[in-house]
Symmetry: C2
Subunit: 156 residues, 2 copies
Amino acid sequence: MRAEDSELTIARLIKAPPSLVWKAWSTAEHLAKWWIPAPIECQVVKLDLRPGGGFETRMREGAGEFQPHVEACFLEVVPEARLVFTTVLTEGWQPAEPWLALTAIMTLQAEGSGTRYTARVLHKNAADAQKHEEMGFHDGWGTTIAQLAALVEARQ
Amino acid sequence: MRAEDSELTIARLIKAPPSLVWKAWSTAEHLAKWWIPAPIECQVVKLDLRPGGGFETRMREGAGEFQPHVEACFLEVVPEARLVFTTVLTEGWQPAEPWLALTAIMTLQAEGSGTRYTARVLHKNAADAQKHEEMGFHDGWGTTIAQLAALVEARQ
């Protein structure tokens, strides 16, 4: 298997410095505003930003109950630079049974007065990556990153 | 699920200090001497002791070819104190498809002039833990830890 076949990547130049992009990731009330495409609501249940810390978000469409969204474990946390989580583990390195096994590697690189934001998503194999792409990876992650950009660019 | 139902634990008091036990874990030629029950041979392919680093060992019975044994990723590395790896990821946080999903948490605690060595093994669920126990977890890990003890106690 070539690594690139099991990876999906999306990147965007955000017109705000890494410090602001990091704040939008590391503050639960900010994260809830962009992490799921509107008008679906996001609830941040766990955002324990340290290796082994839990990451859990829930989602709600309309007036129903909040449903599971992401349940994961942070692997690397480098403020204003790099954030990695995986769904194959939950809080405390507990092996999990995710509906979609992935590791997401987000990097924030200063570029001029802005931030080159890149999300690289690793899957178990090429078939999983293809399934994720067909489920709308680029649309979904693209929309949330556009929401992230709109949020932090408005705060400039 | 109660956490304890999906965990298996084994512990032993080793009559050597944590520094020696750590050396037997962190040096490939030493690790190869105890990590698999004799007379099965162990080959240490990767021992990249840092978060995200690869851990790979192979085994050989008799005169055949070396076969896969463990392919995993280190999660935490605290010299002389704590070592954590998981088989649900490989080098570089790559999600994997292990034949047995587990996270192993080894702790080394000074006790008198020796080391209390504890291996706590987390599984996805109680069924996996039971399967691992029936495959001979306590015999297998017990034998390797006895080999570890014999190795480091002889070096005293």
